[in-house]
């Protein structure tokens, strides 16, 4: 919603990311440390 509000119309929500993705052991994943290393520090 925040992205849409700020003008991003090209946002798709993966509805099922909290369940479907993790029920399939073959889905490509990163652990938290890898994700954090890639990501800038979020807004405070």
């Amino acid at each position: 919603m925040a992205l849409y509000l700020h003008g991003y119309d090209n946002v798709a929500m993966y509805d099922g990311s909290w369940t479907e993705w993790h029920q399939d052991a073959t889905t490509p994943r990163d652990d938290v440390a890898t994700m954090l290393a890639r990501s800038p520090v979020p807004p405070p």
Partner: protein, 237 residues
């Protein structure tokens, strides 16, 4: 990316107070807490008091599929339309959604209505907390909206499937954003490969007992850093 600085998602408590009895207005109380939380169930909170004219909507029980193997996904079009019809929502209805003031659950229903093509939907800024703090009226009266017909017109671009997410991992034109907290990601066994972390809590700033979205410039700095402003599409998980 074209910007829409005049885009409106929120309405203020003062606006709602002035329009609370409008004929084509439907107010949804989306207060929700996971069953394990100490916070009372949303329907109990609603029964104890709510904004006049509001109906209670439980996003999991009322608007989600609750069948394995993937529960808590948005209802399919026909079922969603039937539910909205029962809520008295049709093409002429303006829908205002509120939650305790953190906007997470209101945002979920906002997205669902947008996805099914209903544009006249807004979130009450500050939610129930701001409404009560402003001294506006509060009631235990339950309303029964007159049923009507809601026509669902899905916007596929607003929803990503598992197959699309798999494709997005290798697509340099798509940026994947993970919105959960770190512990939730760890407990679930990781995030989607290649995702950038933008937890939903960081797009809000405290405003008394409720929260407001952070200024556009702050969010922009982060989005530019991950290339989201140049991406052809974004996937939020």
């Amino acid at each position: 990316m074209p910007r829409h600085p005049d885009r409106q998602i929120f309405v203020s408590v003062d606006w709602l107070a002035a329009h609370v009895h409008d004929a084509n207005l439907r107010i949804m109380d989306a207060r929700f807490a996971p069953p394990t939380a100490a916070y009372p169930r949303g329907d109990a909170v609603y029964a104890a008091g709510h904004i006049p004219g509001a109906i209670f909507v439980h996003w999991r029980q009322d608007l989600s599929t609750n069948t394995p193997p993937v529960p808590n996904r948005l209802l399919e079009a026909e079922a969603f339309a039937a539910t909205m019809g029962q809520y008295g929502v049709d093409a002429a209805t303006t829908v205002i959604i509120y939650d305790p003031g953190n906007e997470n659950w209101a945002a979920r229903i906002w997205w669902a209505l947008k996805y099914y093509g209903h544009d006249q939907v807004y979130v009450l800024q500050g939610g129930a907390t701001a409404w009560q703090a402003a001294g506006h009226s509060w009631t235990t009266a339950v309303v029964q909206p007159p049923p009507t017909t809601f026509v669902a017109r899905p916007r596929p671009a607003m929803r990503a499937t598992k197959a699309q997410v798999l494709q997005a991992i290798d697509d340099p034109a798509t940026t994947i954003i993970e919105t959960r907290q770190q512990h939730t990601i760890a407990d679930a066994g990781g995030t989607v490969q290649g995702a950038f972390w933008l937890p939903s809590t960081t797009v809000y700033a405290s405003n008394g007992a409720s929260r407001d979205l952070i200024p556009e410039a702050e969010l922009d700095r982060y989005l530019q850093a991950i290339g989201a402003d140049r991406a052809a599409s974004l996937v939020a998980t």
